[in-house]
Structure formats: structure tokens, C-alpha cells
């Protein structure tokens, strides 16, 4: 029979998900199945997306859910529509907050990624010979998104362990997850602490950290006094690395949309077509990319 697989993502505008879709499409071409791409920004949209897939006669779907607590609902909906279910990026949890282990998952640990960011920053700070206790930390935060909290907290835990002072960590809450919002919030932090000369920045993604970096530029802090490390590694970061002179955007932790998109789609196909159940849990890791080695890292991860 014709195989039809759904790929539902929470934020279709994000380049990350564009890439996941792109790589899933590659798998579809290879194996000759139909891929149905649906964006579902909230719980309600997820429900209708699954119904919609059922109505179209799909046999299974992969989802990056807008919220992990939607787990039981998604599982129930999938069952009601007799659809096979896999998750990507974010893992579903039950009402008690424990992961739903029956649902095959491929993803990243938000905390782990954050820790990688923290490690990269404190390594660089040491290399530059700064005194961590005197460095200011901009925490560009978007606390209504749990993944964002986990990432940022992961980074901060490493920084604190490496001698950064808790008192020098400043919250710059974003009203929205775009660069302008991060820029405005960070500017306030910088102006409030005009005495601090060296800054590092962490945030939910590249756009958030870029906002903080732009803020340092606008108040006249030189690039060599700033270390921002983002998460993602898509065009926003690449544009930054392509700039003729180095900016305060020191690096980014790239996660691979290729594995997430291509492999999950492939696994789902195998499951449907050949009854081969996928592994219950595959965790991928992030990889730090800097101005001079980002192309190599991307190649390494198979993104280019």
C-alpha cells in the first residue's frame, strides 16, 4: 500500500524545523512515501493535525510537540486514529511529569545542550584570561517555554561551577522570541550595570544571543570583551560568522536537523512498511561551532 507519514512541528517558521522537514523529505524521496508536513503551534492545532492525518489515511506520524505535557492527549489521539507515533526533539511526558517511555523518541537533552554552551563560554573566558567572578552574564530568558528554561539553566549551572558569580547573572526577559526583543531587554541590563566591562551571554537560541550581542555593540562594548554562544547553528549564526570582522557572537552549539529529520522519517517508514520497531530512545548531541570551523562542523554533521 501507499505509505503516508505525517511530520508535525510546533514552529514551522523556525529554520530548524524547515531543515527537519527538508531532510525528512529526502527520506521520503528515497523510499517513495508521501510526507505530510503540518505546523501545529498549540495543543488544539495538534489535535486537529492528528485527526487530519487520520482522515487522509496516513499510517503514522512524527511530532515535535508544542508542549511535552500534551503527551497523554497525543497518544490517545494517535490510537483513536490508528496512527503509529514517534517524537522528535522534545519528549512527551505524562501527567506525573515522567517521560512516556513507550513512545519512540529521538532528541536532544535541553539541559545537556545548555551545559555545552556553558562549557564553551567558560573555556573561552579562561583562554582570554578574564576573572570569571568579574564577568557579567546576560541570561536572555523566555521562561514560558520550558525547553528554554532548561537550556539556559543548563548553561548557568556550568558557569557557576566555573567561578562565575551568581550576583553577576542578570535576567533579560524577552517579550517575544525574536532578536529585537532580546536586544531591548539586554540593553537595559547593560546600562544598569555600566560598571561591568566584560560580558557573556546565553539564551534559548541563536536569535536570543544575537540580541544580546547587538546590545553590547550598541552601547559600545568592544567585541573582544563579549562572549556569546548560541544554540542552533542555522543561518542567523552563519550570517554572523560571515561578517568581515569577528563579533561578540563567539560560537553556537549546532544540533543536527539532518539526523532528526531524515532518521526519524526513515525509522517510521521501516516501522510501517516492514514492521521494524524503532529504538525507544536515541539521544543526539550538540557540537560547538566557531567562526573558523563552522563549515567543517556542518559538513561533519551532514548538514551541508
Amino acid at each position: 500500500a501507499d505509505v503516508k507519514i505525517g511530520f508535525v512541528v510546533k514552529q514551522p517558521e523556525e529554520p530548524w524545523f524547515q531543515d527537519e522537514w527538508k531532510f525528512a523529505e529526502v527520506a521520503a524521496q528515497e523510499k517513495g512515501f508521501t510526507l505530510v508536513k503540518i505546523g501545529a503551534e498549540d495543543g488544539e492545532k495538534v489535535q486537529s493535525a492528528i485527526d487530519n492525518l487520520g482522515a487522509q489515511g496516513a499510517q503514522g506520524f512524527i511530532i515535535c510537540t508544542p508542549d511535552v505535557k500534551l503527551g497523554p492527549g497525543i497518544v490517545a489521539k494517535a490510537e483513536a486514529n490508528q496512527l503509529k507515533l514517534m517524537t522528535v526533539d522534545d519528549r512527551l511526558v505524562g501527567a506525573d511529569g515522567n517521560p512516556l517511555e513507550d513512545v519512540p523518541h529521538m532528541g536532544i537533552s535541553a539541559t545537556k545542550i545548555g551545559e555545552a554552551v556553558g562549557q564553551a563560554i567558560s573555556d573561552e573566558v579562561k583562554k582570554r584570561g578574564w576573572n570569571p567572578a568579574e564577568v557579567g552574564v546576560i541570561r536572555v530568558s523566555y521562561d514560558q517555554l520550558p525547553t528554554a528554561v532548561d537550556r539556559v539553566e543548563g548553561a548557568l549551572s556550568v558557569l557557576k561551577a566555573n567561578g562565575f558569580a551568581a550576583a553577576n547573572i542578570f535576567d533579560a526577559p524577552q517579550a517575544k522570541t525574536d532578536t529585537e526583543a532580546a536586544l531591548n531587554a539586554s540593553t537595559t541590563v547593560l546600562n544598569k550595570n555600566a560598571g561591568i566591562k566584560q560580558w557573556v551571554a546565553v539564551g534559548l537560541n541563536d536569535e536570543a544571543v544575537l540580541g544580546a550581542v547587538r546590545a553590547t555593540e550598541s552601547v559600545g562594548i568592544a567585541a573582544e570583551n563579549v562572549v556569546g554562544v548560541g544554540i542552533g547553528g542555522a543561518d542567523s549564526a552563519i550570517n554572523e560568522f560571515k561578517k568581515p570582522t569577528a563579533t561578540g557572537f563567539f560560537g553556537t552549539v549546532i544540533i543536527s536537523p539532518k539526523r532528526h529529520g531524515y532518521e526519524t522519517a526513515l525509522n517510521m517508514y521501516e516501522w510501517i512498511a516492514n514492521g521494524k520497531e524503532p529504538e525507544k530512545l536515541i539521544l543526539t548531541a550538540g557540537q560547538l561551532a566557531l567562526r573558523d570551523d563552522y563549515q567543517a562542523v556542518r559538513k561533519d554533521l551532514g548538514i551541508e
Binding site: L70, P72, A95
Partner: protein
């Protein structure tokens, strides 16, 4: 006037246009006209449909409510948290209704009694209520302890899920209220000419407060059903709902200048929004193009309706 023309240009013209469009879509889009898809489609518009019932009153009385999305999320959260805490689903539901009603009441009192602009007031409560939802849950979704709660959304009568029945019941109730009761006529009168209504002895302030309070209550119903469907209380749920609901109403011929509203129109407006979404996904239209298509559908729908009503030659 030929009878076809009469049909197209009459009061029910939008309904007829919609029916034509529906037939065309049914014939051309595969998998569209199946029982499964129809039920899925209807379920997908439950929140918009329910909230549109009272938004219709709100707009018809020349008011405006941007806080509905937050209220839906907040009361859903409350329902889940309260029933988790008390162990009783009924208490959870009551708590949600009370909270929704209170939000609406506050809107109404501030707007009608203190005469504060409705846009600003509800923009403010939209943020305050969203903030409360986030604070209450610390920004994280709250899972439902008692699986019986899911049954609200999962149970079916005659093969049709309960939420759809509830939406249909509300359509009937509010359609009746609008056309056949003093409350409905007073709403239209206030929207058509607030000054005249006041001078005719309509208690405009009380009416407006009631309309907002009802809006809050109905949002709570939508919020509870949503929480049950998505099996958790989500502080970020239903963002942007306000614009979808208002568009559905305006699409259905409710005038933002007040005084003009019809339940059939609103139902059609809601369905148009739902069908557009549904068909785009069935046809696997790319995400970015969906934006463009959605915009075009909105434009075409009002354009058609407008051609129709200028042909009728309505004055004013």
C-alpha cells in the same frame, strides 16, 4: 429578480455562497467529505466556535474583547489545578467557570462602569490573565490526574464527540438569545445607537457588564473542553485566539460598528476558517504558502459578501 439571484443576494446570501463553496471543495478535495474528516473538522473549530457565540454579542454591542485567548488558557489551567487539588472534577469545572466569569465581570465593570476603552482594557486583562496562568503553573503545563477528565472530550453521543454537541447547543442557545429575547435585542440596540438605547431606558451599563461576564463564562467552557482534549492545562494555550474569533464573526457579517449580527453568519464564519485550515492540510500546502492562502481566503470571502450586499444596495 430571478429566484437564483434572490437566493444569492438575500439575507442568507453568505450561507448560500458558503454552501456552494462547500460542495466544490467536497468534490475536488480527496478525503474531505468523509465522516472522520468532518468530525475532525468540527472538533478543530470547537474553541473558536464556542467563544464566537459571545464574541458576537460583544461586537454587536460595539465592544471588543481581546482577552478571550488568555481567559480560555487560564480557566483551563484552573480546571485542571482545582480538580487535581480537590480530587473532584465537578469542583474543578466550577472553579473554572467562576474564574472565567470573574475575568469577564472585571472586564465588564471596568469598561462599562469606569468607561475605559474596551480595546485597552481587554488588552490589559489579556496580559494580566496570561501572567496569572503562567504564575500559577510556573510556566509549565499541568497534567490531569484523574483520567475521567479526558472523558469530557473523548465521550461520544450517537458517534459524535461531546464537545461538538456542546458547541451546537451553544449555537442554538445564543442564536435564540440574539433573535428572540430582550437581552439580544437590547444588545443590538446598544450597538446600533447607544445613546438612543440609553434614552429609551435600556440599562446600557448593566447590559455591557452582563455581556462581558457571559463572554468570560463561555471562555471557561471552551477552556475546560480544551484542557480535556489536550489532556493538560497549558498556560500558553489559545494565544491569538482573539483575532481568529473576531475574524470569524466579522466574516459572518457581524459589524464592528455594532448593531448587526446573526448566528448563522457566525457559524458560517467559523466553518470557513476551519475548512480553510483543514483543506490546506489535506492538500499538503506548504507552511509558508498557507499564510498567503489563508489571507486570500479571508479577502475573497469578504469581497464576495460585499459584492452581494452592495448589489442589494444596503444604505448607511
Amino acid at each position: 429578480m430571478s429566484s437564483l439571484k434572490k437566493l444569492l443576494l438575500g439575507e442568507q446570501g453568505l450561507v448560500v455562497i458558503f454552501a456552494l463553496a462547500f460542495v466544490i471543495v467536497s468534490l475536488t478535495v480527496p478525503n474531505f467529505l468523509t465522516e472522520r474528516n468532518m468530525l475532525g473538522l468540527l472538533q478543530s473549530v470547537v474553541t473558536i466556535g464556542i467563544v464566537a457565540c459571545t464574541m458576537m454579542f460583544c461586537l454587536a454591542s460595539r465592544d471588543f474583547d481581546l482577552s478571550v485567548g488568555s481567559t480560555v488558557a487560564f480557566s483551563g489551567m484552573v480546571a485542571v489545578m482545582a480538580s487535581n487539588a480537590t480530587g473532584s472534577i465537578i469542583l474543578g469545572l466550577l472553579a473554572a467557570l467562576v474564574c472565567g466569569g470573574v475575568v469577564g465581570l472585571v472586564n465588564g465593570v471596568v469598561i462599562a462602569r469606569f468607561r475605559i476603552n474596551a480595546l485597552i482594557t481587554t488588552l490589559a486583562t489579556m496580559q494580566i490573565v496570561r501572567g496569572l496562568a503562567l504564575i500559577a503553573s510556573d510556566g509549565r503545563a499541568v497534567g490531569i490526574n484523574d483520567p475521567a477528565f479526558y472523558q469530557l472530550a473523548l465521550s461520544k453521543f450517537f458517534g459524535v464527540p461531546t464537545p461538538i454537541w456542546i458547541m451546537a447547543a451553544l449555537f442554538i442557545v445564543f442564536g435564540f438569545v440574539l433573535n428572540r429575547t430582550v437581552f439580544g435585542k437590547n444588545t443590538l440596540a446598544i450597538g446600533g445607537n447607544p445613546e438612543a438605547s440609553r434614552l429609551a431606558g435600556v440599562n446600557v451599563i448593566t447590559m455591557r457588564i452582563w455581556i462581558f461576564a457571559l463572554q468570560g463564562l463561555v471562555c471557561a467552557i471552551a477552556g475546560v473542553l480544551l484542557a480535556s482534549r489536550i489532556t493538560s492545562g497549558q498556560p500558553n494555550a489559545a494565544t491569538g485566539l482573539e483575532l481568529s474569533v473576531i475574524s470569524a464573526c466579522v466574516l459572518g457579517g457581524v459589524s464592528l460598528a455594532g448593531g448587526r449580527a446573526a448566528m448563522t453568519g457566525v457559524i458560517v464564519g467559523v466553518l470557513i476558517m476551519g475548512i480553510a485550515e483543514n483543506v490546506m492540510n489535506l492538500l499538503n500546502i506548504q507552511a509558508f504558502y498557507q499564510y498567503v492562502v489563508r489571507g486570500l481566503i479571508l479577502l475573497i470571502a469578504v469581497l464576495l459578501d460585499n459584492l452581494r450586499s452592495t448589489a442589494v444596495g444596503r444604505r448607511g
